[in-house]
Amino acid sequence: MTTKYMDAQLVEKRMSSRVRKNTGWKGLFFASTLFGLVVLAILLVRIFTQGMEYINIDFLMNHLSTDASRAGIMGAILGTAWLMVVVIPVTMIIGVGTAIYLELYAKKGKLQSFIATNISNLAGVPSIVYGLLGLTLFVRALEFGNVILAGGLTLSLLVLPIVIVAAQEALRAVPGQLSEASYGMGATKWQTVRRIILPAALPGILTGAILALSRAIGETAPLTVLGIPALLIPFPSGIFDTFTALPMQIYYWTIDSSLVAEYANLAAATIIVLLILLFLLNSIAILIRNKFQQRY
């Protein structure tokens, strides 16, 4: 080791151990990558084997019941559907509007960077904090009560940063030549935005919006804060009805499974329904991206 010049023999001697070390670590790195996937596989297998036999027409269509053999999740499915009815238009309008402002209208300056920083900070706020905002603002101050509108608006605020960032990226990807050509034909700014830039960015915007939506319908924490009743309630039929949602149902059945063991299986069956819904949404997002994404 103290030789001042390279010792060919020494280098050769250490070479094989260095190469072996490299191979060994490579195996470890690969195993780590697989670890997450193995856990995912166990989770899916476990939930499907536990819940699959409980999924049938009755389970999907029935009202909630304390009797595990008769309980159904139609109310939760409808609740989740109604939440989507609120979340989709609210996030689309506010999200795309904000993105258009930031990308196309705002002058580069303090205001624009302030709004952008604010959005990236909002993305890091824990979802439970949004729940408290929803409780204070929508349920209490605006006196909506714990209805679908309050839940939907809370979830909308939660996923808004995702939609904004996705829409910004989509708008940015539209090449400048397109809008310049539009201006060259005498179109005004808004005409260009509305007829040229937005249609070109639409697939990207939709993909982001669907991903945000799937985040929203899997979210539980904000809803637990809003005070969603675990009681048997009638099916919701409008945005001013109280409701339960799929993740809330999973939550109640899971924590009660220490009292009634069968509830755990019902929770697993509900998880399957939720996962299938999320899988469909994500497939649609990927489909849109592959089918309509234009390369310029």
Binding site: R18, N22, W25, K26, F29, F30, S32, T33, F35, G36, L37, V39, L40, I42, L43, I47, Q50, I93, I94, G97, T98, I100, Y101, L102, Y105, A106, F114, I115, N118, S120, N121, L122, G124, V125, P126, I128, V129, Y130, L132, L133, L137, L157, L160, P161, I164, T188, W190, S214, G218, T220, A221, T224, G227, T254, S257, S258, A267, L274, L275, L278
Partner: protein, 333 residues
């Protein structure tokens, strides 16, 4: 209302293109047509000038959200600290919100939060980091293209599903190894939280490592180092700011995670370091109290906001820290 306005706007604009066709049918004189066009144009010009301010109003909703969060948390926390001295809150080791003589010490919750975060990071840190090294340095292109999206699925699973899994599968599994473990404990949600954070650390660290230019890598390889030596002595130091930032974001995510701990760690407010016992995190406390019958205006109701404010400040500091690290210490090539 905004939606209706925008809808109206779109309809008006489309009307503008069709005017030639309709006017032809009605056999308008040329001067009439010119008059009408002028009117239309004036209307559009006004709209055109309105749109930036309309969009600014929409964009300011995100700012209003932040203000709303900070204001509600702060205002209600102030109400709480009128009943409970601020020092007692931050130094108290006993949390008994429902007893006759309620005590509101936040330390048991802080303790639960920190312990679950440490467990999660012990899982997610090394595994996420090693996954990132594999994906960035070792994996052939086609393998990476398969593995990366699969890993991202882990991040897309709703946290309630992880909570269910931790409670009904991991805890019974742990009981085979440690028979003394409680039915609700901090260890099992901690581990599962780590699994949830793996893809976040893996993909952010991978981004940081892949952005290290290849010329540097090739230089190290040309000097005779193995891939492992190149990774540890060249790539990782060069990407360190991004890697650390991903860890800090992972910590922030773990602090704010709610459903996994709310389900699998129970609601006992012990101030203990025994990870086989039930502990409550700040997030789980909020779920428990808000889900129960905390009437508005009571001290226990206000305690929600004081805890949430603490939580908010913690995660905000972590997020700002991550941003600062990745900006300040980035190596430019």
């Amino acid at each position: 209302m905004i939606k209706a306005l925008i809808f109206l706007l779109f309809k008006e604009m489309e009307g503008g293109c069709r005017i030639m066709a309709t006017s032809n049918k009605n056999r308008m004189s040329v001067s009439e047509m010119i008059e009408q066009q002028k009117k239309k144009r004036k209307f559009f010009n006004q709209l055109e000038r309105l749109i930036p301010s309309l969009l600014l109003i929409i964009a300011s909703i995100s700012v209003l959200t932040t203000i709303g969060i900070v204001y509600t948390l702060f205002a209600e926390s102030v109400a709480f600290f009128r009943n409970v001295p601020i020092l007692d809150f931050f130094t108290g080791t006993i949390l008994k919100p429902l007893s006759q003589n309620p005590e509101f010490g936040v330390l048991p919750l802080l303790n639960g939060t920190i312990i679950s975060t440490v467990i999660a990071m012990l899982v997610a840190g090394p595994i996420g980091m090693m996954s990132a090294i594999y994906l960035s340095e070792y994996a052939p292109d086609n393998v990476r293209r398969v593995l990366k999206p699969l890993l991202e699925i882990l991040a897309g699973v709703p946290t309630i599903v992880y909570g269910f899994f931790a409670f009904t599968f991991v805890t019974p599994l742990l009981r085979m190894i440690f028979p003394s473990i409680e039915a609700t404990n901090i260890l099992s949600p901690g581990i599962i939280m780590g699994v949830m954070i793996i893809p976040m650390i893996a993909s952010l660290s991978e981004d940081a490592m892949s952005s290290v230019p290849n010329s540097i890598r090739e230089g190290a390889l040309a000097l005779g180092s193995t891939k492992l030596e190149t990774t540890f002595k060249v790539v990782i130091p060069a990407a360190l700011s991004g890697i650390i930032a991903s860890f800090v974001l992972g910590i922030s995510r773990a602090i704010g995670e709610t459903m996994i701990v709310a389900i699998a760690s129970g609601s006992s407010k012990n101030f203990t370091f025994d990870i086989t016992q039930s502990m409550q995190t700040m997030t789980a406390y909020i779920v428990e109290v808000a889900g129960g019958e905390a009437a508005a205006g009571t001290t226990i109701y206000y305690s929600l906001y004081a805890v949430a404010f603490t939580l908010f400040v913690f995660t905000l500091i972590m997020n700002l820290l991550a941003k600062y690290i990745s900006r300040k210490f980035r190596e430019e090539y």
